[in-house]
Symmetry: C2
Subunit: 144 residues, 2 copies
DNA sequence: TTTATTTCGGATAAATTTATCCTATTTGTA
DNA sequence: TACAAATAGGATAAATTTATCCGAAATAAA
């Protein structure tokens, strides 16, 4: 469904949120260990999240990645996905037509619309905070 | 959402269905022109569909690809997707966890479940026949 | 100001997906 | 049987995604 980069990005953001809520900065090393992803590649993805202002990076000694506490509740999955994969997943044509709309639909246009709408809504309404809470309480997991 | 291969495969199957319903066999050349895809690559994908018995190929002179008329209504999108991309799209974990289930869920497990279920249902309930009819009546399109 | 620590960013490599090319094999017809 | 028309399939190339490596730049603390 999503690219590897996006999977790593979502998991990384959740892990950073969990730690930021406890006033801890984390490094790419910690992150990649915790979410079971290649470190250097994860670092690149984090840079994309920084550029899109999803997470904040502090360079130099005692630096790391964090998310401002009061931002955690406002960041939605859609922003993370957009920063890494773009929004083609839930906006582009299911069969890759260049032009696909109500007037010139691909064969699965209407059927796909329902699924993509469901996906879009989910991504736009799911906040980092909700996901981080489940991790903190041990209800959900970031690896294995 | 789907791979290019899968997009081509779905469109090719629809085009073959349209023609088979009019007792016409089609060649990879016609298919790739009609669905706007690279010919040799499309031929490979057709081979996968043949192996999975979604379409039938007739070799030699006057050969080509076809789908038995009474099969057109029974073939579902899910079979085509499975033959080409496998079923990981609507069965695997949204965040790529190796183990992801009710007892050990990834952070988006429950939220994704709804979307994937919607997708699965759509793929399993949409027949080639429905899609081919819309193409024949000019309601939907295979390219541009 | 020096040093240790840490992110940033460019270059490169590996793996996968997408795409092309060429020959073998099959098959209907003259 | 010979020929022409098709699909099958292997080898290879191009493009994209995933992954690694290393030095540059920034920053806090000694």
């Amino acid at each position: 469904m999503f690219s590897k980069a996006c999977e790593y990005g979502i998991k990384a953001a959740i892990f950073i949120a969990v730690n930021s809520s406890e006033n801890k900065r984390v490094s790419p090393k910690e992150i990649s260990e915790e979410i079971d992803s290649p470190q250097a590649f994860t670092a690149k993805i984090l840079q994309a999240l920084v550029r899109h202002q999803v997470v904040k990076s502090i360079r130099g000694a005692y630096g790391g990645f964090e998310i401002e506490k009061d931002k955690i509740a406002t960041i939605k999955l859609a922003q993370i996905v957009y920063a890494i994969d773009g929004d083609n997943i839930y906006k582009g044509c299911g069969l890759g037509l260049h032009t696909c709309n109500e007037n010139h639909p691909c064969p699965v246009h209407d059927k796909f619309k329902v699924v993509r709408e469901e996906l879009r809504e989910m991504l736009e309404n799911t906040s980092l905070e909700q996901l981080a809470l489940d991790i903190k309480s041990g209800v959900s997991f970031l690896k294995i």
